[in-house]
Protein backbone atom coordinates (compact mmCIF):
# COMPACT_ATOMS: atom_id res chain seq x y z
CA UNK A 1 0.00 0.00 0.00
CA UNK A 2 1.38 3.37 -1.02
CA UNK A 3 1.79 5.81 1.85
CA UNK A 4 1.52 9.59 1.66
CA UNK A 5 4.51 11.19 3.32
CA UNK A 6 3.91 14.81 4.33
CA UNK A 7 6.75 17.22 3.63
CA UNK A 8 6.72 18.45 7.24
CA UNK A 9 7.46 14.89 8.41
CA UNK A 10 10.44 14.69 6.08
CA UNK A 11 11.69 18.04 7.40
CA UNK A 12 11.26 16.83 10.99
CA UNK A 13 13.11 13.57 10.24
CA UNK A 14 15.89 15.50 8.47
CA UNK A 15 16.30 17.66 11.58
CA UNK A 16 16.45 14.49 13.71
CA UNK A 17 19.09 12.95 11.39
CA UNK A 18 21.21 16.12 11.57
CA UNK A 19 20.87 16.37 15.36
CA UNK A 20 21.69 12.67 15.64
CA UNK A 21 24.93 13.04 13.67
CA UNK A 22 25.99 16.16 15.58
CA UNK A 23 25.18 14.53 18.92
CA UNK A 24 27.34 11.52 18.07
CA UNK A 25 30.29 13.77 17.26
CA UNK A 26 29.81 15.96 20.34
CA UNK A 27 29.16 13.17 22.84
CA UNK A 28 31.93 10.82 21.60
CA UNK A 29 34.81 12.49 23.50
CA UNK A 30 32.78 12.25 26.71
CA UNK A 31 31.72 8.62 26.32
CA UNK A 32 35.26 7.75 25.18
CA UNK A 33 36.52 8.80 28.64
CA UNK A 34 34.52 5.88 30.03
CA UNK A 35 35.15 3.34 27.25
CA UNK A 36 38.89 4.15 27.05
CA UNK A 37 39.13 3.55 30.79
CA UNK A 38 37.48 0.15 30.54
CA UNK A 39 39.33 -0.59 27.27
CA UNK A 40 36.51 -1.28 24.82
CA UNK A 41 35.64 0.59 21.59
CA UNK A 42 33.66 3.78 22.20
CA UNK A 43 31.03 3.67 19.43
CA UNK A 44 28.29 1.77 21.29
CA UNK A 45 27.92 4.34 24.05
CA UNK A 46 27.91 7.43 21.81
CA UNK A 47 25.52 5.87 19.29
CA UNK A 48 22.84 5.50 22.00
CA UNK A 49 22.60 9.27 22.37
CA UNK A 50 22.59 9.61 18.60
CA UNK A 51 19.68 7.13 18.35
CA UNK A 52 17.79 9.18 20.92
CA UNK A 53 16.85 11.54 18.06
CA UNK A 54 15.69 8.60 15.93
CA UNK A 55 13.18 7.51 18.57
CA UNK A 56 12.08 11.13 18.95
CA UNK A 57 11.67 11.20 15.15
CA UNK A 58 9.47 8.11 15.13
CA UNK A 59 7.53 9.59 18.03
CA UNK A 60 6.69 12.54 15.81
CA UNK A 61 5.94 10.86 12.48
CA UNK A 62 3.62 7.93 11.98
CA UNK A 63 4.56 6.40 8.63
CA UNK A 64 6.15 3.01 8.25
CA UNK A 65 9.92 2.58 7.75
CA UNK A 66 10.53 6.25 8.56
CA UNK A 67 13.50 5.45 10.82
CA UNK A 68 14.90 2.95 8.36
CA UNK A 69 14.94 5.69 5.72
CA UNK A 70 16.47 8.12 8.24
CA UNK A 71 19.17 5.59 9.16
CA UNK A 72 20.01 4.92 5.52
CA UNK A 73 20.27 8.66 4.75
CA UNK A 74 22.40 9.13 7.85
CA UNK A 75 24.76 6.36 6.76
CA UNK A 76 25.30 8.10 3.41
CA UNK A 77 25.92 11.44 5.11
CA UNK A 78 28.32 9.82 7.61
CA UNK A 79 30.31 8.21 4.79
CA UNK A 80 30.34 11.43 2.76
CA UNK A 81 31.63 13.37 5.78
CA UNK A 82 34.20 10.72 6.68
CA UNK A 83 32.49 9.88 9.97
CA UNK A 84 32.30 6.15 9.33
CA UNK A 85 35.71 5.60 11.02
CA UNK A 86 36.94 2.01 10.61
CA UNK A 87 33.59 0.78 9.31
CA UNK A 88 33.94 2.00 5.73
CA UNK A 89 31.09 0.80 3.49
CA UNK A 90 29.76 -1.35 6.34
CA UNK A 91 28.46 1.96 7.78
CA UNK A 92 25.44 1.60 5.46
CA UNK A 93 24.46 -1.54 7.37
CA UNK A 94 25.43 -0.43 10.86
CA UNK A 95 23.65 2.94 10.58
CA UNK A 96 20.54 1.50 8.90
CA UNK A 97 19.95 -1.54 11.13
CA UNK A 98 19.05 0.48 14.27
CA UNK A 99 16.45 2.32 12.17
CA UNK A 100 14.97 -1.01 11.04
CA UNK A 101 14.83 -2.21 14.67
CA UNK A 102 13.07 0.98 15.84
CA UNK A 103 10.53 0.64 13.01
CA UNK A 104 9.86 -3.02 13.86
CA UNK A 105 9.61 -2.19 17.55
CA UNK A 106 7.03 0.50 16.83
CA UNK A 107 5.04 -1.94 14.74
CA UNK A 108 4.76 -4.42 17.62
CA UNK A 109 4.46 -1.81 20.38
CA UNK A 110 2.61 1.16 18.88
CA UNK A 111 2.58 3.42 21.97
CA UNK A 112 4.37 6.65 22.81
CA UNK A 113 5.24 6.06 26.45
CA UNK A 114 8.48 5.85 28.41
CA UNK A 115 8.74 2.10 27.80
CA UNK A 116 8.54 2.62 24.04
CA UNK A 117 11.30 5.25 23.99
CA UNK A 118 13.61 3.39 26.39
CA UNK A 119 13.19 -0.11 25.00
CA UNK A 120 13.20 0.85 21.31
CA UNK A 121 16.40 2.87 21.76
CA UNK A 122 18.00 0.06 23.80
CA UNK A 123 17.08 -2.66 21.29
CA UNK A 124 18.22 -0.51 18.32
CA UNK A 125 21.53 0.33 19.98
CA UNK A 126 22.14 -3.27 21.05
CA UNK A 127 21.39 -4.55 17.53
CA UNK A 128 23.72 -1.90 16.05
CA UNK A 129 26.48 -2.81 18.52
CA UNK A 130 26.06 -6.51 17.73
CA UNK A 131 26.34 -5.90 13.99
CA UNK A 132 29.33 -3.56 14.40
CA UNK A 133 31.08 -6.19 16.48
CA UNK A 134 30.30 -8.86 13.90
CA UNK A 135 31.60 -6.77 10.99
CA UNK A 136 34.39 -4.69 12.53
CA UNK A 137 35.58 -5.21 16.10
CA UNK A 138 35.21 -8.99 16.55
CA UNK A 139 35.30 -8.74 20.35
CA UNK A 140 34.96 -12.03 22.22
CA UNK A 141 34.19 -13.27 25.72
CA UNK A 142 34.03 -10.75 28.54
CA UNK A 143 34.93 -7.81 26.26
CA UNK A 144 32.00 -8.67 23.98
CA UNK A 145 29.61 -9.03 26.94
CA UNK A 146 30.75 -5.67 28.32
CA UNK A 147 30.39 -4.01 24.89
CA UNK A 148 26.79 -5.30 24.61
CA UNK A 149 25.89 -4.38 28.20
CA UNK A 150 27.18 -0.83 27.72
CA UNK A 151 25.24 -0.52 24.45
CA UNK A 152 22.05 -1.76 26.14
CA UNK A 153 22.42 0.38 29.30
CA UNK A 154 23.24 3.53 27.34
CA UNK A 155 20.35 2.72 24.98
CA UNK A 156 17.82 2.53 27.83
CA UNK A 157 19.22 5.71 29.39
CA UNK A 158 19.28 7.68 26.11
CA UNK A 159 15.79 6.43 25.17
CA UNK A 160 14.49 7.50 28.56
CA UNK A 161 15.94 11.00 27.99
CA UNK A 162 14.49 10.97 24.46
CA UNK A 163 11.05 10.18 25.89
CA UNK A 164 11.25 13.07 28.35
CA UNK A 165 12.42 15.39 25.57
CA UNK A 166 9.66 14.26 23.19
CA UNK A 167 6.93 14.75 25.78
CA UNK A 168 8.19 18.28 26.39
CA UNK A 169 8.32 19.29 22.73
CA UNK A 170 4.97 17.57 22.10
CA UNK A 171 3.35 20.08 24.44
CA UNK A 172 4.53 23.02 22.34
CA UNK A 173 1.52 24.11 20.21
CA UNK A 174 3.73 25.23 17.29
CA UNK A 175 5.36 21.78 17.14
CA UNK A 176 1.97 20.03 17.17
CA UNK A 177 0.68 22.29 14.39
CA UNK A 178 3.86 21.64 12.39
CA UNK A 179 3.79 17.86 12.77
CA UNK A 180 0.04 17.59 12.03
CA UNK A 181 0.44 19.43 8.73
Amino acid sequence: MKQKVPLCHLVFLAICVALSLVTKRVISPITNLLTDFIRIPGGGAATAFSLMFFVIGTGGVGWRWATTAAGFVQSLIAMALGMSAYQGAFAILTYTLPGVVIDLFRRFYPHRNTAYFSLSCASANTAGALLTNLLVFRLEGIAFLLWMLIACTMGVFAGFLGGILFKRIEKIPEFRRFIEC
Partner: protein, 160 residues
Protein backbone atom coordinates in the same frame (compact mmCIF):
# COMPACT_ATOMS: atom_id res chain seq x y z
CA UNK B 1 4.75 2.37 37.71
CA UNK B 2 6.34 1.76 34.30
CA UNK B 3 9.02 4.36 35.02
CA UNK B 4 9.89 2.53 38.25
CA UNK B 5 10.41 -0.70 36.31
CA UNK B 6 12.63 1.09 33.80
CA UNK B 7 14.67 2.74 36.57
CA UNK B 8 15.03 -0.67 38.23
CA UNK B 9 16.08 -2.19 34.88
CA UNK B 10 18.69 0.53 34.34
CA UNK B 11 19.97 0.00 37.87
CA UNK B 12 20.31 -3.76 37.28
CA UNK B 13 22.04 -3.16 33.95
CA UNK B 14 24.43 -0.70 35.61
CA UNK B 15 25.28 -3.23 38.33
CA UNK B 16 25.82 -5.99 35.74
CA UNK B 17 27.94 -3.62 33.61
CA UNK B 18 30.03 -2.66 36.64
CA UNK B 19 30.69 -6.29 37.56
CA UNK B 20 31.60 -7.28 33.98
CA UNK B 21 33.79 -4.15 33.62
CA UNK B 22 35.67 -5.07 36.82
CA UNK B 23 36.26 -8.62 35.54
CA UNK B 24 37.31 -7.25 32.13
CA UNK B 25 39.78 -4.79 33.69
CA UNK B 26 41.15 -7.56 35.90
CA UNK B 27 41.87 -9.62 32.79
CA UNK B 28 43.41 -6.60 31.06
CA UNK B 29 46.16 -6.32 33.67
CA UNK B 30 48.04 -9.07 31.91
CA UNK B 31 47.69 -7.86 28.31
CA UNK B 32 50.53 -9.29 26.32
CA UNK B 33 52.47 -6.71 24.33
CA UNK B 34 55.77 -8.47 23.54
CA UNK B 35 57.29 -11.89 23.54
CA UNK B 36 60.79 -13.07 24.49
CA UNK B 37 62.05 -16.07 22.54
CA UNK B 38 64.95 -18.25 23.69
CA UNK B 39 65.27 -21.53 21.84
CA UNK B 40 61.93 -23.26 22.23
CA UNK B 41 60.93 -21.05 25.15
CA UNK B 42 58.36 -18.35 24.56
CA UNK B 43 57.84 -15.85 27.39
CA UNK B 44 54.96 -13.36 27.30
CA UNK B 45 55.66 -9.77 28.36
CA UNK B 46 52.84 -7.44 29.49
CA UNK B 47 52.80 -3.64 29.75
CA UNK B 48 52.94 -4.06 33.53
CA UNK B 49 56.24 -5.96 33.16
CA UNK B 50 57.67 -3.01 31.26
CA UNK B 51 56.31 -0.04 33.21
CA UNK B 52 58.89 -0.23 36.02
CA UNK B 53 60.16 3.31 36.37
CA UNK B 54 61.40 6.52 34.81
CA UNK B 55 64.64 7.01 32.93
CA UNK B 56 65.96 9.78 30.73
CA UNK B 57 68.80 10.51 28.40
CA UNK B 58 69.90 12.05 25.13
CA UNK B 59 69.41 10.61 21.65
CA UNK B 60 71.19 11.59 18.47
CA UNK B 61 69.14 11.67 15.27
CA UNK B 62 70.36 11.02 11.70
CA UNK B 63 71.36 14.69 11.26
CA UNK B 64 73.43 14.73 14.43
CA UNK B 65 70.90 16.71 16.47
CA UNK B 66 70.95 15.83 20.15
CA UNK B 67 67.61 15.78 22.01
CA UNK B 68 66.84 14.96 25.64
CA UNK B 69 63.88 12.74 26.49
CA UNK B 70 62.13 11.32 29.54
CA UNK B 71 60.78 7.78 29.37
CA UNK B 72 59.01 5.18 31.47
CA UNK B 73 60.06 1.58 31.00
CA UNK B 74 62.63 -0.95 32.05
CA UNK B 75 66.28 -1.73 31.36
CA UNK B 76 66.40 -4.66 28.90
CA UNK B 77 68.91 -6.45 31.12
CA UNK B 78 66.54 -6.19 34.10
CA UNK B 79 63.58 -7.40 32.01
CA UNK B 80 65.49 -10.47 30.83
CA UNK B 81 66.62 -11.21 34.40
CA UNK B 82 63.05 -10.92 35.69
CA UNK B 83 61.85 -13.32 33.00
CA UNK B 84 64.37 -15.94 34.08
CA UNK B 85 66.94 -15.56 31.30
CA UNK B 86 70.46 -16.55 32.38
CA UNK B 87 72.43 -13.47 31.27
CA UNK B 88 75.80 -15.18 31.71
CA UNK B 89 74.95 -17.54 28.85
CA UNK B 90 73.64 -15.12 26.21
CA UNK B 91 75.66 -14.10 23.16
CA UNK B 92 73.32 -11.39 21.87
CA UNK B 93 69.76 -10.18 21.41
CA UNK B 94 67.68 -9.41 18.33
CA UNK B 95 64.70 -7.08 18.63
CA UNK B 96 62.05 -7.31 15.90
CA UNK B 97 59.21 -4.86 15.34
CA UNK B 98 55.61 -5.53 14.27
CA UNK B 99 56.62 -4.37 10.76
CA UNK B 100 59.57 -6.82 10.73
CA UNK B 101 62.35 -4.27 11.23
CA UNK B 102 65.03 -5.89 13.35
CA UNK B 103 68.21 -4.78 15.11
CA UNK B 104 71.00 -6.64 16.90
CA UNK B 105 72.57 -6.04 20.29
CA UNK B 106 75.68 -7.77 21.58
CA UNK B 107 75.65 -9.37 25.02
CA UNK B 108 78.03 -6.64 26.23
CA UNK B 109 75.61 -3.91 25.14
CA UNK B 110 72.67 -5.63 26.84
CA UNK B 111 74.62 -6.09 30.06
CA UNK B 112 75.71 -2.44 30.18
CA UNK B 113 73.87 -0.32 32.75
CA UNK B 114 71.94 2.61 31.18
CA UNK B 115 72.36 1.48 27.57
CA UNK B 116 69.38 -0.52 26.18
CA UNK B 117 65.87 0.08 27.53
CA UNK B 118 62.34 -0.91 26.61
CA UNK B 119 59.98 2.09 26.96
CA UNK B 120 56.18 2.40 27.20
CA UNK B 121 55.92 6.20 27.50
CA UNK B 122 58.00 8.98 25.96
CA UNK B 123 57.97 12.54 27.33
CA UNK B 124 54.79 11.84 29.26
CA UNK B 125 52.79 10.35 26.36
CA UNK B 126 52.06 6.69 25.74
CA UNK B 127 54.08 5.22 22.90
CA UNK B 128 51.85 4.34 19.96
CA UNK B 129 51.49 0.83 18.63
CA UNK B 130 51.36 -0.13 14.98
CA UNK B 131 47.52 -0.23 15.08
CA UNK B 132 45.83 3.19 15.22
CA UNK B 133 45.03 4.13 18.79
CA UNK B 134 46.77 1.10 20.29
CA UNK B 135 49.56 1.33 22.87
CA UNK B 136 53.01 0.21 21.84
CA UNK B 137 56.57 -0.39 22.94
CA UNK B 138 59.85 1.17 21.77
CA UNK B 139 63.41 0.09 22.38
CA UNK B 140 65.59 3.02 23.45
CA UNK B 141 69.36 2.85 22.98
CA UNK B 142 71.59 5.52 24.50
CA UNK B 143 75.10 6.19 23.23
CA UNK B 144 74.57 5.30 19.55
CA UNK B 145 75.54 7.79 16.84
CA UNK B 146 71.98 7.74 15.47
CA UNK B 147 68.55 6.40 16.47
CA UNK B 148 68.40 3.51 14.01
CA UNK B 149 68.34 0.90 16.77
CA UNK B 150 65.51 2.65 18.64
CA UNK B 151 62.96 0.16 17.32
CA UNK B 152 59.34 1.38 17.26
CA UNK B 153 56.47 -1.13 17.52
CA UNK B 154 58.89 -3.59 19.18
CA UNK B 155 57.21 -6.99 19.37
CA UNK B 156 59.76 -9.76 19.70
CA UNK B 157 63.02 -10.13 21.64
CA UNK B 158 65.06 -13.11 20.50
CA UNK B 159 67.78 -14.13 22.93
CA UNK B 160 70.74 -15.98 21.42
Amino acid sequence: MLKKWIVAGVFLLLVATGIVAAVHLGNQDAVECMVILQGDREIAVSFEDLDKGAFSGELIDGKGNVTAHDYAGVLLKKLLEEKGIDLARISGVTVTSADNYSVEFTAEEVLQADKVYVAVTADGAKIEGIDPGADGVQVIVFGDQNSRRCVRFAQKITVK
